[in-house]
Amino acid sequence: MAVENTIEVRGASWRATPESSKEILVNVSLAVPKGRTLVLLGRSGSGKTSLLKLINGMQWPTSGEVRVEGRTTREWEAIRLRRHIGYVIQEAGLFPHFTVAENVGLVPKLENWPAAKLTARVEEMLRLVGLDAREFAHRRPRELSGGQRQRVGVARALAADPPILLMDEPFGALDPVTRTELQREFRALAQRLEKTIVFVTHDLREALFLASDIVLLEKGRVVASAKPEEFLRLQHPGVLAFTASLELNGAPA
């Protein structure tokens, strides 16, 4: 293999409890090479978020395995693995009792960075996501707009400089204009920082815009997998349902 796979999922299945008969993920296999962005596309309940949780070890696969940088998630020490992976969720999941600076600096602080380095890093991260530290560092999340909150979420995920990012519909709750703006900035940022990214969305347009590869999940199974430019040509009914949604929106694909 020419490119080293940062994330590899091999035949992973997962059910919420050992007794439960319903498998949330069924025999999922995929690989994300270093520095690429894999977009997991799927409708609500297709298992996208569960798959992210298998990658950062918040869940272990019931069968099969997930490897991060060559080691299975069971071999990783859970806390180390998670601090090695940035995580952004919808509405950002910011801590309401922390200021913006405290939110962004959380993981470096957990890692016992010296105070001066931490402050500098927080400022750098805020600048990176287009927020002025002097204006925003001391605000609380409730004093921010949805877009600003999401920027802080991205800054927080990047703060300890993890090589991997997991993004769970990070821009899902934003208005279309802000969403497009953040998608553009995020794509540029991702390319520049060479992060390995798994990005979950139910928005095909977002998937096409951000992905190096798109994987379509349906009821916990991978039903299609392709480069963005090839994805639209796939004849799988699941893909067709998504492309139809694009046309309904009146957008040229």
Binding site: G93, H97, R142
Partner: protein
């Protein structure tokens, strides 16, 4: 009733000292109830079986009529006997349930998205407890302390029955002598204490609430 104001004036020193005694009983009992209730709540919040048992016991203790509880405690060595110590133990027992219950609720009912991102960022359960659950649940915990304080101020009037003093001294004397002025000299300061505690803790609670 006609003699009430002169009565107040005449006994103001005694009223003041009983009020202080009462306040002291309540403060010491609340100190122990918080010292036991909050850490216990932190321990049981993520252990379902333990939580059911602890809240069950606290609930049963709460249902014992207060006068009976004081009575039950008297023969018990070390914590029992006649006097202040027994009263403090009984008051602590009464204050426990609201504090324990609100600690559990406050720590448990945190926005799942916040807990999820805390875990995903690699915080340990202990870090999540102290840096996320506790600060976000503080207002709810304090609401429990407030309820417990008001209950304790009321129940503490019964402490006089076992010789622990406090404002109950007037009330018991008033009942025995069928004297309204004596009753009021105990009841009014107790009510004022309760109202004051409610206002003070309510204000603190609003300040701690994180939106």
């Amino acid at each position: 009733m006609t003699g009430f104001w002169p009565f107040l004036l005449e006994h103001r020193g005694e009223i003041l000292s009983h009020t202080l005694e009462h306040t002291e009983l309540v403060l010491i009992a609340m100190f122990f109830a918080i010292l036991i209730g909050v850490p216990l709540g932190m321990v049981i919040v993520r252990r379902a079986a333990l939580r059911v048992i602890a809240l069950g016991i606290a609930g049963v203790l709460q249902t014992i009529p207060s006068l009976a509880l004081f009575g039950f405690l008297i023969p018990i060595p070390f914590i029992g006997g006649i006097g202040t110590r027994t009263a403090i133990v009984a008051l602590t027992v009464y204050a426990l349930l609201p504090i324990l219950r609100n600690t559990c609720v406050g720590l448990a009912e945190i926005d799942p998205a916040i807990l999820e991102s805390a875990e995903a960022m690699g915080m340990t359960q202990r870090q999540i407890l102290f840096r996320v659950r506790l600060p976000l649940g503080l207002a709810v915990i304090l609401a429990g302390v407030r309820t417990a304080t008001i209950i304790t101020i009321g129940v503490a009037t019964i402490a006089a029955a076992i010789g622990a003093g406090g404002l109950g001294t007037f009330i018991f004397r008033g009942v025995a002598l069928v004297n309204d002025s004596l009753l009021l000299a105990g009841a009014i300061p107790a009510a004022l204490l309760a109202i004051g505690a409610d206002l003070l803790l309510g204000r603190l609670e609003r300040r701690l609430r994180v939106s």
